[in-house]
């Protein structure tokens, strides 16, 4: 039984995205991603106003094991970042799909969302990679 939220969309590079329905989207990394990384010790967020490209790296998460780029699943402009992660990167470990959100983007092209995975497809991807 998967805990992957059905209402979110997913990128193959393990980010999740929530369509806010008003031309913006909230983005974070998946439960699976945080589990692989282990205890996070540092999060480097983009600056508000940064233009991000779909598939382009725009943030960094660092654990005691590894530093990993975070890729924006969509093209647009960063309108808000979760500053509480600066002092409490562990929020991502504790609540990856909720309070551990990383940044919000104003979408350039809402149809980009269609190319992202749904929860079932993402679970299948994780199972496949785990194989």
């Amino acid at each position: 039984m998967s805990d992957t939220p059905k209402e979110l969309r997913y990128a193959k590079s393990h980010e999740w995205l929530r369509d806010e329905g008003d031309g913006t989207a909230t983005i974070g990394i998946s439960e699976h991603a945080q589990e692989l990384l282990g205890d996070l010790v540092f999060v480097d967020l983009p600056e508000v106003g940064t233009k991000v490209e779909a598939g382009g790296d725009c943030a960094v998460v660092e654990s005691v094991k590894a530093a990993s780029d975070v890729y924006s699943p969509v093209t647009g402009e960063v309108i808000e970042v979760n500053e509480s992660l600066d002092d409490a990167p562990e929020t991502i470990n504790e609540d990856a799909f909720g309070n551990g959100w990383m940044f919000k983007v104003k979408l350039d092209d809402a149809t980009e969302l269609d190319s992202l995975l749904d929860a079932d497809a993402y679970d299948a991807l994780v199972a496949e990679e785990d194989h």
Binding site: L36, D39, V41, F42, V64, K65, A66, P89
Partner: protein, 482 residues
């Protein structure tokens, strides 16, 4: 901390008269008003303190040290003692060439040896470390494209298994790093490479054998594709030990290479240097090599500088790089000779493959079981982590209790729960067998008493450190209580 032994007024030579210090003839105005805050201890205390610390060291001199991707092999003492001859040690870098002919002859010979062993057209010794060698290499790629007016090339391709320094060097030289995935068999995903190549490609940075410990079998095809797209091939010398004298990067089609003398040529390793990262290039990149280099005109050895090599990317350090480290590499190369270098490659690969096969026999999983290892290989402890809750870090810490420095853990990033093991050619069969026994013991412990492994180490001067807290609450500077 040495400061904890400090007592005001204590001197190295405890019984000398402190009044002696007042006999200084330095004018008062030039003396500092407050003391420098140095530890004040006797000579005996200083000796004991640092001797004790050195005894806590886990080093290649005392323990098996199979740190993958690092080539922690034994450095013959002869390299050190010969490089420390007074004639070398007391030579001033500004001494005239006529007084430096011996040193320059060694450097010239080292350039020639490295050219032969890598199959490159020309070599410069001056980069002071591997990362600086990488920077020099990518800067030369840039200089080559710029000199041809081919300035639209903006990307350097890097496999996802690469050392983090590769994309960093590319970015330092103003390029965008683009990642190429690795296939299931450990080779580069050729289709992804073909898609990524184009008029924007400045080059590709590869390690071969790669960071996943296997030889990139289609390197000729990759070289053809990259050259066809107008890009250049960069060889990261991290794993040169596996192929030393056997296969040459120049023959594989590489245009630039940097060598880590501290890995392959047995110079001091770790502790932040000093290092040496010579670069070699194909003919078309030769004009851009960093200066100074050494040339021989048939009678004398001479320095080649900006004057003789106006297209050079310039200097990376004052003088000729880290002379003492280069001398150690030169002695090492001369001790081995051509045949010895072949044996380095043969035995480092043989040791790795022997160890891999034996560990697989006792129940460990290889990340690429169908591939032959190069001089290193990857185990994945995914099964142990999942079924027993004992992860790679637990295994690594427990190894310390058995007198083994852990292999590289959690690198490369694309293999989960991985151990990157590199025994090197300098380990005997008995030591390899002993490592297998230790791994087998820890595996049994993980099955029967997992907490013993999870709480390791038990016998070290310090127990398991809270590395998460250490990283989150950085506390790096010592402060006096007073």
């Amino acid at each position: 901390m040495i400061y904890e032994h400090s007592r005001t007024g204590r001197r190295a030579t405890a019984q000398t008269n402190p009044e002696m210090d007042k006999l200084s003839d330095i004018p008062d105005a030039l003396l500092r008003k407050r003391p420098a805050g140095l530890p004040e201890v006797s000579e005996m205390q200083a000796v004991r303190h640092y001797t004790r610390l050195s005894q806590k060291n886990f080093s290649i001199d005392t323990h098996f040290y199979p740190l993958g991707s690092c080539t922690m092999k034994y450095n013959p003492r002869a390299c050190n003692s010969l490089a420390s001859l007074p004639g070398f040690l007391s030579r001033h870098p500004l001494a005239p060439d006529t007084h430096s002919q011996g040193f320059m002859a060694c450097m010239y010979d080292l350039q020639e040896i490295l050219k032969h062993v890598t199959g490159m057209h020309d070599v410069s010794l001056s980069p002071a470390a591997g990362a600086q060698g990488e920077f020099a290499g990518v800067a030369m790629i840039r200089a080559y494209h710029d000199a041809r007016g081919d300035t639209a090339r903006s990307e350097i391709l890097v496999p996802d298994a690469a050392h983090g320094t590769n994309p960093a060097s590319a970015v330092m030289c103003g390029y965008k790093a683009r990642e190429i995935p690795t296939g299931r068999d450990g080779d580069i995903d050729l289709d992804a490479l073909k898609q990524a190549l184009g008029p924007q490609t400045a080059g590709i940075m590869l390690t071969n054998p790669s960071t996943v410990g296997v030889f990139e079998r289609r390197i000729k095809e990759i070289a053809g594709l990259v050259h066809e797209a107008g890009g250049l091939l960069y060889y990261d010398g991290a794993n040169l030990n596996a192929i030393l004298g056997k296969v040459r990067p120049g023959d594989m089609g590489f245009d630039v290479i940097h060598m880590n003398l501290h890995k392959t040529f047995s110079t001091p390793h770790g502790g932040g240097g000093p290092g040496a990262g010579p670069v070699g290039v194909s003919q078309r990149l030769a004009p851009y090599l960093p200066v100074p280099m050494v040339d021989y005109d048939g009678t004398d050895y001479i320095w080649l500088t900006e004057k003789e090599r106006p297209e050079s990317i310039g200097r990376l350090s004052a003088f000729a790089g880290n002379a003492g480290v280069l001398l150690r590499a030169y002695v090492y190369a001369r001790l081995l000779g051509r045949e010895g270098m072949h044996r380095v490659a043969e035995f480092s690969s043989l040791n790795a493959n022997y160890l891999l096969k034996r560990l697989m026999e006792v129940g460990f999983d290889a990340a690429y079981p169908e591939r032959r290892a190069s001089h290193e290989f990857i185990l994945t402890l995914k099964k142990q982590a999942k079924e027993l809750g004992v992860n790679t870090m637990d295994f690594a810490k427990r190894m310390l209790d058995y007198g083994v420095h852990a292999p590289t853990t959690y690198f490369p990033l694309l293999v989960p729960e991985c151990l990157l093991v590199e025994p090197t050619e300098t380990e005997a069969k008995e030591d390899l067998d002993s490592f297998v026994e230790i791994m087998q013991t820890i595996k049994q412990e993980a099955e029967t008493q997992p907490d013993l492994v999870k709480q390791a180490p038990h016998t070290m001067p310090v127990r398991r450190l809270d590395d998460v807290r250490a990283a989150r609450e950085l506390d790096l500077a010592w402060k006096s209580d007073s």
